[in-house]
Symmetry: D2
Subunit: 80 residues, 4 copies
């Protein structure tokens, strides 16, 4: 091969390498962004579930209080 | 005693007896009225209590349904 | 009429009057007893109704608290 | 430069390009995987929210039925 052909082939390789590295950086940025969104989504989901658990405890309390009210009514009906 | 005194005394007794019998009839009417009111009051009270028992059963159903809803929420929170 | 007949009639009237007065006293005692029972029954009924009114207020509070819980759940579902 | 140096430089570039392309494929696979997980997570979240909306409607119904029960009790107390 002539020196000119070597040179031309090397330039082509160098250009392709640069393009691939640029694409690489883009992919890594996208990946990092997606990972952050997934993590954010999981944190949000956990926070949501924690709020729902508080609500469930509150609902338990209300059901318990309605049951007490029910027992009071039953005693009133039978006792009077 | 003279016949006239006898006659007067007898008339007085007859009058008193009539008054007392009239009073008797009034009292019996009042007693009958009160007995009917007391019986009516007891029937009313029993009907009231029957209505309250229906309400109590309905409340039991509602508490049961709220408990089912609560269990569904608990499963949703843990299962998802 | 002979004096003896007058006497006999008078005794009969006196006896009847006494019986009627005794019956009167019995009726008045029964009436007084019934009046007290009716009054007691009305006081009891009023006390019962007062207890039921307290229960109704408690039920109002529980329904209000369940409605608040419902609103919190609605906000959680839409906001997250 | 000698022909040997050219050759050596070209080989080095070729190797580097291969490594970068391999890294690229790995990143694209990771990205695709993450995108699917994120999409799956959003579908799951939407299904969860749909279930919670059904639950909210059921809770509305129960609150409505408790309010009707409350009104029946109020009428019983005042009407009797």
């Amino acid at each position: 091969q002539s020196a000119h052909e070597f040179q031309s082939h090397r330039d082509s390789l160098t250009q392709k390498l640069q393009d691939t590295e640029t694409r690489n950086q883009t992919l890594e940025a996208q990946l990092s962004d997606l990972e952050q969104r997934l993590e954010g989504s999981q944190l949000e989901r956990e926070a949501f579930r924690t709020s729902l658990r508080s609500l469930l405890e509150l609902l338990d309390t209300k059901i318990f209080e309605l049951t007490e009210l029910r027992d009071t009514l039953a005693k009133l009906i039978e006792g009077s």
